[in-house]
């Protein structure tokens, strides 16, 4: 126990310093060991190779060269990035409209709608994909619906086990990630800004274009970032609804750690994905950073 004296004893100081060191070790040490070092290990792995089922720990660019030489990998890579872009674009339009609509509701309605967005967010990812598979199949309810309203005369297999199925599934599954950041950004715009704009003579449309839209842009950027990064790296959705025609880059990576068992090559493929993700995150950071924010 510390005495009533004003001076700290040597023992107290030692103990304090010990506690402080332990604290720093936990705070900085654990993330370093379990986040930074694994990422670095995995980066190093991408330069090694496998020969006759044995790991060869020698530095080399072989894996990257193989990726660049292989038409099929480059094709799948490009196709996946483009598909992610489509998913992001669709969700940006749908998500912004929905977020705007919800933010204009009041009281309880608004609260319940937001809750209804968060519920699917915390639902098991694969369950949602599984549910989509049921809906999209040849005997699925989407086909039933389209036939019932006369758009189709017989069940179509267009919606399952191809890239369209992956697009639809990812769009649906990632929608809350798009809507919520936009909604939060819209909610943060004080009503007095909208009042001021109208007071100065702006029509509702002008107020939307000149005040609401630019001020909610950081939210849209964040939503688009989540959407793109998650879509481009996903392998569960294509695995479950993509079939053989819906092969994506994420599956290519995943397969290296399963049947192919070529970990270094898989690591290299994911380092390329990591590069894409990091570029998107940095780009989003730059876009969302406002010149006008308090600093």
């Amino acid at each position: 126990m510390s005495g009533p004296g004003l001076q700290t004893t040597a023992a107290e100081r030692t103990r304090e310093r010990g506690a402080e060191l332990l604290r720093l070790a936990l705070i900085f040490g654990l993330p370093a060991v379990f986040i930074v070092i694994p990422l670095v290990t995995f980066l190093i792995y991408s330069f090694w190779r496998v020969e006759d089922g044995q790991l060869v720990r020698e530095f080399g660019l072989g894996n990257y060269v193989e990726f660049l030489r292989s038409d099929s990998y480059r094709f799948v890579f490009g196709r996946t990035l483009f598909m992610s872009l489509q998913v992001t674009a669709i969700n940006l339009v749908l998500g912004y409209a929905a977020a705007l609509f919800i933010s204009q509701r009041r009281g309880r309605t608004k609260y319940l709608m937001v809750l209804a967005l968060i519920v699917p967010l915390l639902m098991s990812y694969i369950i949602k994909i599984y549910a989509m598979r049921g809906l999209l199949g040849t005997n699925g309810q989407l086909n039933q619906l389209l036939m019932a309203i006369g758009l189709l005369s017989e069940p179509s297999d267009l919606f399952l086990f191809n890239l369209t199925a992956v697009r639809i599934t990812l769009s649906v599954v990632l929608l809350p990630f798009m809507i919520l950041p936009i909604f939060v950004a819209l909610e943060r715009i004080p009503a007095s800004f909208l009042h001021a704009s109208a007071d100065l003579g702006a029509s509702p449309w002008q107020t939307f274009r000149l005040v609401t839209l630019p001020m909610s842009l950081p939210g849209a950027v964040a939503g688009a970032m989540f959407c793109y990064v998650l879509a481009s790296g996903d392998f569960l959705a294509p695995e479950l609804v993509g079939g053989t025609r819906g092969f994506t880059y994420g599956r290519a990576v995943f397969s290296q750690f399963g049947m192919a068992f070529n970990w270094p090559f898989g690591a290299a493929l994911s380092v390329i994905l990591l590069g894409v993700a990091m570029s998107v995150i940095l780009l989003a950071g730059r876009l969302a950073r406002s010149r006008w924010a308090d600093r």
């Binding site: 800004f193 009042h195 007071d199 100065l200 003579g201 630019p214 001020m215 006008w292 308090d294």
Partner: protein
């Protein structure tokens, strides 16, 4: 401009605002002339901001109408009203520079960029903000933001500018400077200003007329001097600084121009111009400002007549020195009266326990109809 042919008068006609059973405003009748500086003054929660918001179009009245130039504008949407507002928190768009903020009103009217910039520079010069055009609001001081908000409202050349406690966020010194600035600016641009505040000094210093409002009802409208010296309600009498309220009854005219009142303190004389329109026997309240009251020590037992119209005997309760003025409370009969006297270095004018004569002239003070009971207490304001 088309203003020459039109009156530019704003009229509120029986305007009320109810939220459920809560009456925020009740039957407001108010007329504001073109070019006038009118202050709506009242404590927090009195409904003064609601009036402003209804003129601006942000809140719809439950009943009543608002007319401008004899046209009913009650249902005209915000962006079509020729009024502009300076918001309490300024509401400067954070993602626009100063010049973009100021030019906003012209931009949404489809003016060309060159013209917007020229006009924006002119208005910024008017509020002495040249050189800050490319700053963002976050990089401005409170006073600068205030002037940008003002410039942004001015550039639209509105017929009316609504100011919602625009100086509340500024420190005392800056507030004084901005008061003078606002007043002189208003004279130069010749636009009607409707200014909402809870600060009495601000209202007295700047306004052509003051509209005092309390509990959603207008208590009195008039020039600052009138509202201060001729209050028509107990609230107004006590809202502008201290006042002594003496309840009584009109008795009779004793001599030409002088009336006698019967009060709890005994008979009091009161001059004709205060009492016009009252009948004998009517209950009234006399409000006498503490600075109109004189105190003199009682030397002998006799009365010294002729020095003041009213002279009451009393005993000093308490003397409080506060700089140039000493506040003295005197017990007169059942009532306590407050007097304010200039102090001197050598001595305070009176001591507690002194027997004194309390005097004032029959022409000082104001008469309020009935027994005025509602005294304004500053602590009500915090609710």
């Amino acid at each position: 401009m088309t203003a020459e042919t039109k009156s530019g008068r704003l009229v509120l006609h029986g305007v009320s605002k109810h939220y459920g059973t809560t009456r925020v405003l009740d039957g407001i009748d108010l007329s504001v002339e073109s070019g006038e500086f009118l202050t709506i003054l009242g404590p927090s929660g009195s409904g003064k901001t609601t009036i402003l918001r209804m003129i601006g179009g942000f809140t719809e009245p439950t009943s009543g109408s608002i007319l401008f130039d004899e046209v009913d504008v009650t249902d005209v949407p915000i962006h079509r009203r020729p009024f502009n507002t300076v918001f309490q928190d300024y509401a400067l768009f954070p993602h626009m520079t100063v010049v973009q903020n100021v030019g906003y009103g012209l931009r949404v009217r489809g003016l060309r960029r060159r013209e917007i910039e020229t006009r924006a520079h002119e208005v910024l010069a008017l509020v002495a903000l040249e050189g800050l055009e490319q700053r963002y609001p976050a990089q401005l001081s409170g006073g600068q933001k205030q002037r940008v908000a003002l410039a942004r409202a001015l550039i639209c050349e509105p017929r009316l500018i609504l100011l919602d406690e625009p100086l509340a966020a500024l420190d005392a010194e800056l507030r004084r400077r901005m008061q003078q600035f606002l007043k002189s600016l208003q004279r130069r641009v010749d636009i009607t200003f409707i200014y909402v505040t809870h600060d009495q000094e601000e209202a007295i210093g700047m306004s052509d007329r003051i509209c005092v409002i309390n509990h959603g009802v207008i208590e009195q409208v008039g020039p600052p001097l009138e509202v201060y010296y001729r209050p028509r309600s107990g609230f107004v009498a006590t809202f502008f600084g201290d006042n002594n309220l003496i309840n009584g009854r009109v008795v009779e005219r004793t001599e030409p121009g002088i009336w006698r009142l019967e009060t709890g303190l005994g008979p009091i004389t009161c001059s004709d111009d205060l009492l016009s329109g009252y009948e004998e026997g009517a209950p009234v309240t006399l409000a006498v400002r503490p600075e109109a009251i004189g105190l003199r020590a009682v030397v002998g037992a006799g009365t010294e007549a002729g020095e003041a119209d009213n002279a009451l005997r009393g005993t000093v309760n308490r003397v409080e020195f506060s700089g140039p003025i000493s506040e003295v409370t005197v017990q007169v009969g059942e009532q306590t009266l407050l007097a304010k006297m200039t102090s001197t270095v050598s001595a305070l004018p009176v001591q507690p326990g002194d027997a004194v004569r309390v005097t004032w002239n029959s022409g000082d003070g104001a008469i309020i109809a009935g027994d005025a009971e509602h005294h304004y207490r500053p602590d009500e304001e915090s609710t």
